[in-house]
């Protein structure tokens, strides 16, 4: 009964959105988010991710429990708010998803290239998203603090800044066209300024997120992928250096921001 009522209130919140939105689309969404707090569908992906983490899978029939996400083998809590970071074993700066794929290849024997080529939401990519949701959830409430001590981490930040401002395509857009200033919108959608800390739970600190509008769980790689689609750019490779670099740029800028991931979005 209570659930039904909450559902109805949620729907009303949605239909009210366009009316209220001009003044406070963010407030209305925050309200809607609050209503769904006990039932963010992201929870399902988080639970699936946790099961996948512990399950023996792949050609090597092993779990991911020895995966090193940067804080030592098996340490999940706190890893998310320090990614992307440099990993000695791969000699690369990696974000959460590319690191998960490295672990799936090394520990479970999956083919990393094959996973990278798989479209979002299918086969092992769907599992990567669920795993990323689980790992992110373990850092909920913690503050972003990406390491910048390794030279490669500092280099990636600098590359990421250049990627962020790179203008191209038929519309002349860069990430900065929409995310370089305070208080801007596209239609009714508020745009965070990602050149600095945009605040707790905003921008980099909100993804992975469950998207109500299409009923999908979106990882950061997919978030970036769709940004580039709307930027009218060609297709960014999963885990490509440009995506890791721009994530490093946003993550370092978000230093001190509280992570609310996995969050819920319109």
């Amino acid at each position: 009964m209570k659930r039904l009522w909450i559902g109805a209130a949620g729907l009303m919140g949605l239909t009210l959105l366009p009316v209220q939105a001009q003044k406070s689309s963010a407030d209305a969404i925050a309200e809607y988010r609050k209503m769904l707090e006990d039932g963010n569908p992201a929870d399902l992906f988080e639970a699936k991710g946790e099961a996948l983490w512990k399950q023996k899978r792949g050609p090597k029939n092993a779990s991911l429990e020895q995966c090193d996400l940067g804080k030592g083998p098996g340490v999940v809590k706190g890893a998310f708010v320090e990614l992307p970071r440099h990993f000695a074993d791969t000699g690369k700066v990696q974000d959460l998803e590319s690191r998960l794929v490295t672990c799936m290849a090394a520990l479970q024997g999956f083919n990393a290239d094959e996973i990278a080529k798989t479209p979002f939401g299918r086969a092992e990519q769907e599992n990567v998203t669920a795993l990323a949701t689980y790992v992110a959830a373990a850092s909920r409430g913690l503050r972003f603090n990406l390491p910048q001590s390794h030279a490669e981490e500092r280099r990636l930040y600098e590359i990421g800044k250049r990627v962020f401002y790179f203008r191209g395509g038929p519309y002349d857009f860069s990430c900065a066209s929409c995310h370089g200033e305070e208080g801007k919108r596209i239609r009714l959608q508020d745009l965070p300024n990602l050149t600095k800390n945009p605040g707790d739970g905003i921008g980099f600190a909100a993804w992975p997120a469950y998207r109500v509008s299409n009923g999908q769980m979106w990882s950061m790689q997919l978030r970036l992928n769709d940004c580039y689609r709307q930027q009218r750019f060609p297709y960014p490779g999963f885990g490509s250096e440009a995506t890791i670099a721009v994530s490093t740029f946003m993550g370092v800028n978000a230093k001190g921001a509280e992570s609310i991931a996995p969050s819920i979005k319109r």
């Binding site: 366009p18 790179f166 395509g169 038929p170 919108r185 689609r229 060609p234 297709y235």
Partner: protein, 216 residues
């Protein structure tokens, strides 16, 4: 002699260590080069969105930094952009504001999920960034409000020669926005083949026709 050589080698070692610390981050020019290589290596063709979209022209390259380019470069980009503007055949600047409103509402086109890059399949995306007709409350704020665009500029009759400067400026801005602001956020609708002349005429009418709801 001995100690001098020893001192020298210490100095060399110290210098090398200092250099290593500094050299941990490449020069700004080297990072620029690396970032270009990163972009080239990170994207692939998908549908109509090919990797040649990353080949930057002068303006795109100059405006890929947080700060404005040098005044000389700004002048050059604006002059070269102005020279690209194709004025409408027969001086026909105006179409139907109703069609213009449809185009302004339509934010589609040119992504890798769009089947065709032909202008007829593209919207003008105006409301994404601008307020236009006040009745539409779902508008973006990246660009300035265009409510009463013609009225505020005193356009009572679009055929009046006194209106010609603002008519031409508006056409030029739609054709190639960079002619008037080198690093404008606005796409170059005519220059990049996003909209054809007929579509631009409709958008012109939406903005300048005294009968358009925008000018009430």
């Amino acid at each position: 002699m001995q100690s001098k050589r020893w001192m020298k080698s210490i100095a060399t070692v110290t210098l090398a260590a200092a250099l290593a610390a500094c050299a941990s981050l490449p020069s700004s020019a080297e990072l620029d080069r690396q970032a270009q290589a990163t972009m080239k290596a990170s994207f692939r063709d998908q549908g109509i969105a090919k990797v040649d979209r990353l080949n930057q022209d002068l303006g795109q390259q100059a405006c890929s930094v947080p700060s404005a380019p040098s005044p000389e470069l700004v002048k050059r980009i604006e002059a070269e952009s102005l020279a690209t503007i194709k004025w409408p055949a027969g001086g026909r600047y105006f179409g139907d504001w109703r069609e213009g409103e449809k185009l302004a509402q339509n934010g589609r086109g040119m992504t890798w999920t769009d089947a065709s890059a032909a202008p007829k399949d593209n919207g003008a995306s105006c409301y994404n960034c601008h307020q236009i007709d006040q009745k539409e409350i779902s508008f973006g704020t990246i660009g300035p409000s265009l409510w009463n665009y013609g009225k505020l500029r005193g356009v009572k009759d679009v055929t009046d020669p006194a209106a010609l400067p603002i008519v031409q400026y508006t056409w030029g801005k739609l054709w190639n926005s960079k002619a008037y602001a080198a690093c404008s956020n606005m796409p170059r609708f005519g220059h990049m083949g996003l909209l054809d002349e007929e579509q631009l005429r409709h958008v012109m009418a939406l903005l300048l026709d005294p009968k358009s709801p925008v000018n009430q």
